[in-house]
Amino acid sequence: MSAVHFHGSLPKLLWAMAGLAVMSTSDVRAEGPGLRFQDVSAQAGLTRVLLSGRPDKEHLLDSAGGGAAWLDYDRDGWMDLYLVNGWELKGNRIVRKGQNALYRNQGDGTFRDVTDQAGVGDRQHWGGGVAVADYDDDGWPDILVTNFGANVLFHNQGDGTFRDVAARAGIQAPGWNTGAAFFDADRDGDLDLYIAAYIEATLEDVLEARASLDWKGVAKVAMGPFGLQGAQDRFFLSDGEGRFREATESAGLEDRGRGYGFAVRAADFDGDGDPDLYVANDSDANYFYRNRGDGTFEEIGLWNGSALDLNGAAQAGMGLAVGDVQGDGLLDIFVTNFSEDFSTLYRGLGRGFFEDASIDSGLGDATYASLSWGAALADLDQDADLDLVIAHGHIYPQVDSHPEIGMHYRQTNQILINSGGGAFQDATPSAGPAFQAAQSSRGLALADFDNDGDLDLLFTHLDAPPTLLRNDTQGGNWLNVACQTPPGQGGVIGTSVWVTVKEKIQRRDIASSGSFLSAHDPRLHFGLGAARRADQVKVVWPDGSTTVLKDVAANQFLEIQKVPSQDPAPGGASGAQNPTGE
């Protein structure tokens, strides 16, 4: 049961109509996507420089960078942007404490800096990651900022302002916090929280650090992560009243290897109806925590095929992307890694098993040279399969002084097109001049910021303003699905949407975070290719209930509202592995 309608705002409807007009004159192109992206950062007004330690990056924190999040904080139908900022150092001195930024989308391609009036600047902490979720289920999206220091949880007060409630919520957890994921681990209708941590380090350690690691015999660079002690990830269980208590051990999420944790993503990877958790660790085996169904977990990454590469080696996990690359209804996991090593595509085999498909998919060779961070699987040319975008950038600026190494600190980001069966081709050279600009990029967050039906790209970089690339690709038809639940019904994190066109099924999931320390547009975008209608749109809500729509027109923003459940099905399987039925 559900209420379904076009989004009420006129601009959106006009954008949707514009999309229809475009599609009436252009057909889907199965090959030659003609990708085109335009750098609109400056004209959009995104000028905040994101600080990141010292120029020489003498401690790993100097090189870690921060994330970005898209959210509609004022619920006006336009995606707003939140940026996480670090500090600037000189030697062992703090020169400047960067302010995080909230940019309000004005609906005309520009943004207005509303940081101060919203109260989300937070100069007190060296920021890292961001996750967005309505943690208290009051209908307004809240912002978690993970810091080097205490975390901050900005509660959205619904009037354009936020208030930090991290202390009251009990999730400050000082340390080097990185990726975070809100998810309903125990399926009791409220959102719990996992926060990864990188290494044990104090501010004094950072300030006193000097580049001392001999790298390739040519340069002294920042020490670590080997030689530094891994910090413990933490899990917080919600009491449903806006407070959390740490339950890391009792939930079985103990980070027993003290991995250098970065990206985190929750999803029902094994299709049994409850959310599992994946953690990308730097230089350590990645974790796959399988939910036992009662909110406790067991770590099975070593034998389900998602912890190591095909040679059995741990890699330097940084960011990740989750999606159904092959169109078989199974979630795949893409993990970005260090340079001179490939980023890894763990292909889902069903029942929570994976195999390293990096070589088969063409991603092995394509990603080997670069040092990779944020990543997103999204249908950028709208031909009904998931393409891949990756943010690149080295951590050692010293490499620029040694051309014989053949690496650069600033690197071009990468876009790879899915040929339809999960095989990728590097389309970066043909994606326009915007993809030829080199930066030391970190975060990557996708959104349809201009509500024109396609997905745009936001990259964060070290010591530079972000880059917003507007997608000007003349792609196929599309559908944008926003899922909503009434306040008190558990929210939408963990919802999956399945769109069927003829025999082809596409799946997307709503998550609080992804990529590298970032959060994408919570609305789900589907490319439909030549199809002007979807045969079916099926929503599987976190409680396992479903909403099914038939014969849905393409090129529209669809809002699907969950009707309050009289009899929620806690613990009931969603059957989300392949819900083609009704």
């Binding site: 085996a285 770590e299 034998w303 190591l308 059995g312 098993f353």
Partner: protein, 183 residues
């Protein structure tokens, strides 16, 4: 923990100072007592490395015996038509521990040793035979164990006693070869 080396050094110095002078040695020579003390310390250092090998052998042997019993139980259960998913997953976990020289907690200890600069098989690591910090399990054996673990876990979907026996034989052969080499 940091006090231990200091106390040990003081102890050695005390030994030297307290020892009666021995027969004449060249004035510039390192005193024989210090050489003896260093010899003793060398025994301790080299002995510690040997002890590390024995300890890891024991970790592997424990996991192997546990896995062997689990494999037999799983095989018998499959033959009897019982649901052996939990046993197969337990077996997979144990076999992956063989590949990993222990579970994640052991890996954390291994990482600590690496952080301290200790590489048990430094030369073997350079040659690509061992992964960093591994003591007995070679890179090739590690991959073999982890691949077997995955295949065993996936058998839960279509249990087959003969396939399980064949997979277990692979694990056992790999293990026995490894342990023989580690003698």
């Amino acid at each position: 923990m940091k006090a231990v080396p200091l106390i040990f050094s003081l102890f050695l110095t005390g030994l030297v100072l307290a020892a009666p002078p021995q027969e004449e040695a060249p004035a510039t020579a390192t005193p024989a007592e210090l050489v003896d003390a260093y010899e003793s310390l060398a025994d301790v250092i080299l002995g510690a490395k040997e002890s590390e090998k024995h300890l890891v052998r024991s970790i592997l042997a424990t996991a192997y015996r546990h896995a062997e019993v689990t494999a037999m139980r799983a095989k018998a259960g499959i033959e009897a038509g019982e649901d052996m998913e939990a046993e197969l997953e337990a077996l997979a976990a144990l076999v992956s521990q063989l590949g990993n020289e222990g579970d994640a907690a052991v890996a954390a200890t291994r990482k600590r040793l690496l952080e301290g600069g200790h590489h048990h098989n430094a030369k073997g690591e350079e040659q690509g035979i061992y992964d960093e910090g591994f003591v007995i399990v070679t890179r090739a054996a590690r991959k073999a164990f982890l691949d077997s673990a995955k295949r065993i876990a996936r058998m839960a979907a279509a249990p087959d006693a003969d396939r399980l026996a064949a997979e277990w034989k692979r694990v056992a052969d790999e293990y026995n070869m490894l342990m023989a080499d580690a003698e």
